[in-house]
């Protein structure tokens, strides 16, 4: 790491901490009335709740950015995120099916914990089946995997849409609230359990940073330098599946967050070392998500973070593609 990168990392860290504090205290401004009518007990509850949400954001940002980063390394492409493989739609279809088959009041829906386990398992299983089918037969052809992901996601999309048309407004609302990213309906117990899982996955990815550095050179070079390319690809894809499944069912789909974070890091840090990039993209992703959430709250919650991030991320990516003039 050179001096400039260290400096940038420190600045990022400071901004991240400041935004974290802003998130913990923004209600003082948006809900001023509470200061007149509330008491210490209420304040404590609010801050505690927000601290848990902050933890959830940290967890999912870590998972989203590190999985996006290694996914881009595997595919050697800068405009991809794992969610292109259709996780969002699979998540959507699982939730829609649950609500329509079991009704709004079923334990599988009302108990966030059970719901979480079901949707996470579904996503991991589907992904692993897909990997097995495509990668084994076709010599790790990731582009093929990508196309299949696109098709499966549109398939899943049409299935969930089909079911949603038949729903009564209650069920429709219930699906909407389950699938729209909203940091306000996170289950606290879930967050505590996810922290260790997230740490394990991120550490596993981080420990392989040198292998990814080599893999980024291309498969032939990597094999020449003694990396078991095919094996590493498969293991990494399983990590990615777990990471995306967890983060999607915790805070919903955030397609563009990984893209903004990883590409922003590339542009600012001008490095290809995964060691630096994992940390930096995590910080950047956190800053973007946190700033988005604070802005949404200052706008009286009249929009959602996911939409805001799609707006920013989509524009940024198209700007980037145009600037680079090639793909």
């Amino acid at each position: 790491m050179n001096k400039r990168q260290v400096k940038l990392l420190i600045i990022f860290g400071i901004i991240a901490v400041l935004l974290g504090i802003a998130y913990l205290t923004v209600w003082l401004y948006t809900q001023r009335d509470l200061l007149i009518y509330g008491n210490a007990n209420v304040y404590f509850k609010i801050i505690r709740r927000r601290a848990v949400q902050l933890l959830a954001i940290v967890v999912s940002t870590g998972l989203i950015t590190s999985s996006s980063l290694v996914f881009q390394t595997l595919t050697k492409n800068r405009i991809l995120t794992p969610s292109v493989l259709g996780f969002d739609s699979i998540f959507l279809v699982t939730q829609t099916l649950l609500v329509s088959l079991l009704g709004v009041s079923s334990i599988l829906i009302s108990n966030v914990y059970v719901n979480f386990i079901i949707s996470t398992l579904t996503m991991i299983v589907i992904t692993i089946i897909m990997y097995q089918l495509v990668l084994k037969k076709n010599k790790n052809n990731v582009v093929l995997l990508l196309l299949m992901g696109m098709i499966i996601s549109s398939l899943a999309g049409s299935v969930s849409n089909f079911i949603q048309v038949f729903m009564n407004p209650d069920q429709f609302q219930s699906v909407l609230s389950l699938t729209t990213v909203s940091l306000t309906n996170i289950n606290e117990q879930l967050v505590y359990i996810l922290v260790p899982i997230m740490v394990v996955v991120v550490v596993l990815i981080y420990r392989k940073n040198r292998i990814y550095d080599v893999m980024a050179l291309g498969d032939d070079q990597a094999i020449g330098l003694g990396v078991e390319y095919n094996k590493e690809t498969k293991i990494t894809l399983v990590y990615i599946a777990i990471a995306v499944a967890i983060s999607t069912s915790l805070i919903g789909p955030l397609t563009f967050l990984g893209l903004i974070a990883v590409n922003g890091t590339r542009e600012l840090f001008k490095t290809t070392k995964h060691k630096v990039m994992i940390v930096a993209s995590f910080l950047l992703g956190f800053i973007v998500l946190m700033a988005g959430q604070v802005v949404v709250e200052l706008m009286d919650n009249r929009t959602s973070v996911s939409v805001l991030i799609s707006l920013i991320g989509g524009s940024y990516m198209i700007y980037l593609i145009l600037k680079e003039n090639k793909l």
Partner: protein, 320 residues
Amino acid sequence: MSKKKVISIAVFIALVIISLFIGVSDKVSITNLLKGDKNAWFLFYESRMPRTIVIILSASALSIAGLIMQALSRNKFISPQTAGTTNAAVLGVLIAYLFLGTISLYLKFVFAFVFAMVFSVLFILILNKIKLKIVIYVPLIGIMYGSLISAITQFIAQRFNALQIISVLNLGSFAHITRLNSTLLIILIPALVIAVIYATQFNVVSLGEDFSKNLGVNYKKVLFIGLIVVAAISASTYIVVGPLPFLGLIIPNLVSLYYGDNLKKNLFDVAIFGSSFVLLNDIISRLVIYPYEVAVGFTMGISGAVIFLIMIFRRVKSHE
């Protein structure tokens, strides 16, 4: 006429006849129609016939729109649905709804058309600026572009509590088609005529800007006309029928697999193939839970996905 062509036309005609005589009412049968049964003729004229005509018109138009879009963007994996065109049409409908309240079908169309047009021009401009190494990434940019437009739509819809308006538009169906509410699709006829007239020039444009200038074709003009045709087709079918997934993507690819890349020669086959495909899907959707029916967008989402997967795997195999 080749044997293949005769077979495909025969299949098409058979599907048209089946499509006309499937339905909840058993009054509409050939014998009743020949007897001159008034009820049978009424149903036939008001519901069955419009439905089948709408299917043929919109299916062939959308397939041809896909073909033109693929020629203009010089990429086999593009269709109006993977290039943000339909997303833009939704945005147009939403804007029309917000500013004008409940509005007529035609005004809706004008808004959807204008938005589809503007955003497809933008997309082609972006594509022309990028040097691509792998063609598969083009639909990826298209999807990203589309989701950017959708994000704008959602952002606006959330602020004005109009989310369900967008959701209603999300699944293609022919179930509600009658003689009255499908008149908007008359717009497809001039669009198709223009497509036929300019077919050769679209083909030339698909060779690239420099090449088409060499051959004496006004690149920008033809590109613009092509996009007008595509936008008109996608906006009008989207409003009347809803999205028909994979149609514009797989049909042109299937046809060029058999007949090569001559766009003018292929137009007719694309129309026949596309209509047969949608007719078949519509018949299936009407029969699976008879006397009810599922939306054709759902059936096509599945059958189209499967066909597309097979096509990809075949391509991979031939590369090996």
